[in-house]
């Protein structure tokens, strides 16, 4: 066996020796990776917190947004360069840590990192600020007076999941508003965020103290309390139970931004179901299902397919099954934990049982359980799939029926992928928006949100900042105190 050792986290002001470490072991096929994660004492957490907050005040807040974008742009350019040592390390180790196929990780990284290049970052800022200079200086306001947007001195991120690179969204958002950032990485993918922080410090040493990347066991209360007590904003990803617990520990004076688990669906209209177009749509649907094995909040777990076109919903389900079988050859699904395999098994067994007793239900899948498509002709149920390339495909008379079917689950809705003609797209978009869906995209793009998208319908940057306003009354009064007053 080849053993590789990595240290996760990024701890400004602390040396490796003065920190306690714990080892997380990742095993795939013939490789083992021991990742040491830092276990900080309360005093060390305090020390890091203070350092990051002070550095953000003393340095980061003196930069303009344009300067910050320039630094991030250089970091992203490095990571897009396949010869760069950081990039090589990511391509080498992230498949080992997450279990995802290495080609899928490579393509995923490139596609994802592209959304953080300079022009994309400018879109990011423009998306939330009509006048981005408001992040640098007081700007005149239409109502009168002036205003400036201040980012938090300390933004705490609780990251979750195993999708490579996920922490970049909130970390870069934090940097763009000049926040001091402390993030907690998940045990499922503890490396990426720390690497990115190191790379930033390499590019701009004065940023070295503006970011820290920590680890603790999920749900451990002591480090959370210590951090949250000093945080201006706490941003957390996770299941609702975990988010609820975190909420209980965030002081009422800090802002809390929870991002819960979500469910995505796809919708295929009659217009997309002729013999020429249906295969391509099925291919893209299968891609959305296979990409990161449905671990993303935007991943589809069900598709609704309209009846009455040249290709029937049942035929479309067969196409998707075929495409998933092809993807299994190209990008094999990662090995599952017993718990995950149990979840897939529960999905398959449940559908198998229903298929024996209810006509119009059918389960397609390979013997090893690498992918599964459950076709549902008549039933009006709706539930998440078993994940890891399992999906339900429902036949509906009209996609409007599908909107009604998912509407009761408003708190969990996020992305809907649509294959429909323009007028249909906009008509459905209005219905879906009213039902609580926050992102509508093409099938095939579900797992690759655009730069500056509104995650769960919220504002990436606006939610982080506070506005400081100079009222016009202050201006008028100040005139009275000027040296040149008449």
């Amino acid at each position: 066996m080849i053993a590789v050792d990595e240290r996760a986290g990024y701890l400004p002001g602390l040396t490796t020796d003065e920190v306690a470490w714990r080892t997380l072991t990742f095993r795939r096929a013939n490789r083992t990776l021991d990742v040491a994660v830092p276990v900080l004492s309360d005093a060390q957490i305090d020390q890091v917190t203070k350092r990051v907050r002070d550095a953000s005040r003393a340095y980061l807040k003196t930069l303009t947004v344009a300067q910050i974008i320039a630094i991030i742009e250089r970091a992203i350019a490095r990571l897009l360069d396949r010869d760069d040592p950081w990039r090589r390390k990511m391509e080498d180790l992230l498949p080992l840590v997450t279990g995802y196929d290495s080609e899928m990780v490579r393509l995923g990284l490139t596609g994802y990192l592209k959304t953080f290049r300079g022009p994309e970052l400018r879109k990011f800022v423009a998306e939330d600020f009509a006048n981005p200079q408001i992040l640098d200086d007081f700007q005149p306001m239409p109502k009168g007076g002036f205003a400036k947007a201040f980012g938090p001195d300390l933004l705490v991120h609780i990251w979750a999941g195993n999708v490579p690179g996920l922490p970049l969204w909130s970390l870069i958002s934090g940097l763009l508003v000049k926040a001091g950032n402390i993030g907690k990485v998940s045990s499922a993918e503890p490396l990426f965020a720390g690497w990115f922080a190191e790379l930033l410090a390499e590019i701009e040493p004065r940023l070295a103290d503006c970011v820290a990347v920590l680890w603790w066991k999920g749900g451990d209360q002591a480090p959370e309390r210590a951090l949250f007590n000093r945080a201006d904003v706490v941003l957390a990803y996770g299941g609702n139970d975990a988010l609820e617990e975190i909420r209980g520990r965030v002081p009422v004076t800090a802002r809390y931004l929870p991002f819960g688990h979500k469910i995505g669906v796809g919708m295929v209209a009659r217009a997309a179901l002729d013999t020429q177009k249906a295969w391509a749509v099925a291919h893209r649907a299968a891609y959305d299902i296979a990409r990161y094995d449905q671990q993303g909040c935007y991943s589809p777990q069900a598709f609704f397919v309209e009846r009455g076109a040249g290709i029937s919903p049942r035929e479309f389900a067969g196409y998707v099954a075929h495409e998933l079988a092809c993807f299994e050859q190209k990008f094999p699904r990662r090995d599952l934990s017993l718990d995950e395999a149990g979840s897939v098994a529960a999905f398959r067994h449940g559908e198998e049982m229903k298929a024996t007793s209810q006509p119009g239900r059918e389960l397609m899948g390979d013997e090893a359980g690498a992918w599964s498509v459950a076709f549902v002709e008549d039933a009006d149920d709706f539930a998440p799939s078993g994940l890891n390339r399992t999906v339900r495909i429902y036949a509906v008379d009209r996609l409007d029926d599908a909107v009604a079917r998912i509407a009761p689950f408003k708190p969990f809705l996020q992305t809907v992928g649509i294959a429909a003609a323009p007028d249909e797209l906009h008509r459905l978009g209005a219905l879906l928006g009213a039902a609580g869906v926050t992102r509508i995209c093409a099938i095939g793009a579900m797992s690759a949100p655009e730069a500056g998208w509104h995650h769960d319908g919220r504002f990436n940057l606006l939610d982080l900042i506070t506005m400081t306003e100079i009222d016009s009354s202050a201006e008028t009064a100040a005139d009275g105190f000027a040296r040149y007053v008449d």
Binding site: A160, G161, N162, V163, L166, A188, Y237, G238, G239, N240, D241, F259, H261, K262, I263, G264, Y292, D293, Q294, Q295, G296, C297, S299, Q301, S337, L338, D339, E340, A341, G342, S343, V344, A345, A346, F347, R348, H349, G350, E352, M353, K354, A355, T356, S357, E367, A368, G369, A383, P384, S385, G386, L387, F409, P411, F412
Partner: protein, 359 residues
């Protein structure tokens, strides 16, 4: 084969000293043929997996019904209305839908329980004064555990055996009186019931600052674990507390692993070491399998448990559980549930969705 003939054979096997692989296999295949013929949903399920009387030649090939199916299907060879008793799961998962096992007679269930309990819990003793930490059979007519414990009292309970649980909870006064009585008289005492009731008992004892030193021959039998309860204890701590508060050695603290979907239970030989090794009698056999393929995992690897219980004659003999386990010398070690409750990514998983949907 008729039901009467099947019952006769199963009872004979239970009564036998042991079962050879061949004898077990023979009856398992007869039972599969009987269930394939008479249990229509099971036949559809088996046929869907291309398993028929003709293709199944070994008990390991008998298609295992996932326990979730007990919630969707009525799995019974006799018409369900012929059942003298229907045991139901607690319905804590899957939106309150309860899995059912229909019993047209309890003769086989009872014979299985009595033979096994005598060997594994009583270990040669005829009767013992019992305190039961669970509601009565009248209070919970659909609980297999209530019936099991009633049967334990009836068959193995000495005069004065009693229930310690009612609608208002644990009868602490009676419990402490019984503990004092046992200490004073030296008559062994057996406490049997649900694991979480023992936690309440331990909490009560601690609150009142009590300990007991039960006489030699006393025993404790708990079952069910703590999933979904207000408090969870590690097995090691649990048996340490039980043993030190009640004075029953850990090797006489026995954990029973049973399911509504079976007619036979598994026991360990005490809890001197954790986790304990569970095993069943000669009329039930278990495999550790990959939940997706149903194939045996390599020996020593973690998988989910599949059981072939010849006493579950009216329903299906062979089930696939959601319990993770590992095969070891002399049986298997239980490792909790493999139900996908812990999502890895940020995609909503079924368990969380159901929980949220139930409010």
């Amino acid at each position: 084969m008729t039901e009467a003939r099947i019952i006769e054979q199963v009872l004979a096997l239970i009564a036998a000293e042991d079962a050879s692989e061949a004898a077990f296999n023979r009856l398992a295949l007869d039972l599969f043929a009987y269930q394939f013929e008479n249990n229509i949903p099971y036949r559809r399920f088996a046929t869907g997996r291309a398993k028929t009387v003709r293709t199944v030649k070994d008990w390991r090939d008998i298609p295992a019904v996932p326990i979730s199916a007990f919630k969707d299907l009525t799995l019974s060879c006799r018409p369900p209305e012929d059942a003298v008793r229907v045991f139901m799961t607690s319905g804590t998962t899957q939106g309150g839908v309860r899995g059912k096992s229909h019993h047209p007679t309890l003769a086989v269930y009872d014979a299985s329980m009595i033979r096994n309990f005598g060997q594994r819990v009583m270990q040669g003793r005829d009767r013992i004064r019992m305190g039961i930490l669970f509601p009565t059979e009248d209070a919970m007519p659909n609980s297999s555990l209530a019936h099991y414990l009633a049967l334990a009292v009836e068959t193995f309970g000495a005069d004065g055996s009693h229930y310690l649980l009612d609608e208002s909870g644990l009868d602490s006064a009676r419990l402490f009186a019984e503990l004092a009585r046992a200490e004073a008289t030296g008559e062994p005492y057996g406490l049997l019931g649900a694991s979480y009731s023992f936690v309440h008992l331990l909490d009560d004892m601690q609150r009142q600052g009590r300990t007991a030193a039960l006489p030699d021959g006393s025993l404790i039998m708990d079952t069910g674990g703590f999933k979904g309860q207000s408090r969870e204890l590690e097995a090691e701590d649990f048996y340490h507390l039980l043993s030190s508060r009640l004075g029953v050695p850990k090797r006489r603290c026995i954990n029973m692993y049973g399911m509504t979907e079976l007619s036979t239970q598994f026991y360990d030989w005490g809890n001197d070491t954790s986790p304990s090794v569970k095993s069943g009698p000669h009329w039930i056999r278990s495999r550790v399998v990959n939940p997706l393929t149903g194939d045996d995992v390599p020996r020593g690897a973690v998988g989910v448990l599949a059981h072939c219980d010849l006493a579950h004659f009216n329903v299906v003999s062979t089930i696939l559980t959601e319990d993770a386990g590992i095969e070891v010398e002399g049986g298997f070690v239980l490792l909790g549930r493999a139900d996908g409750a812990e999502a890895k990514g940020c995609s909503m998983a079924v368990e969380e969705f159901l929980k949220a949907a139930q409010g």
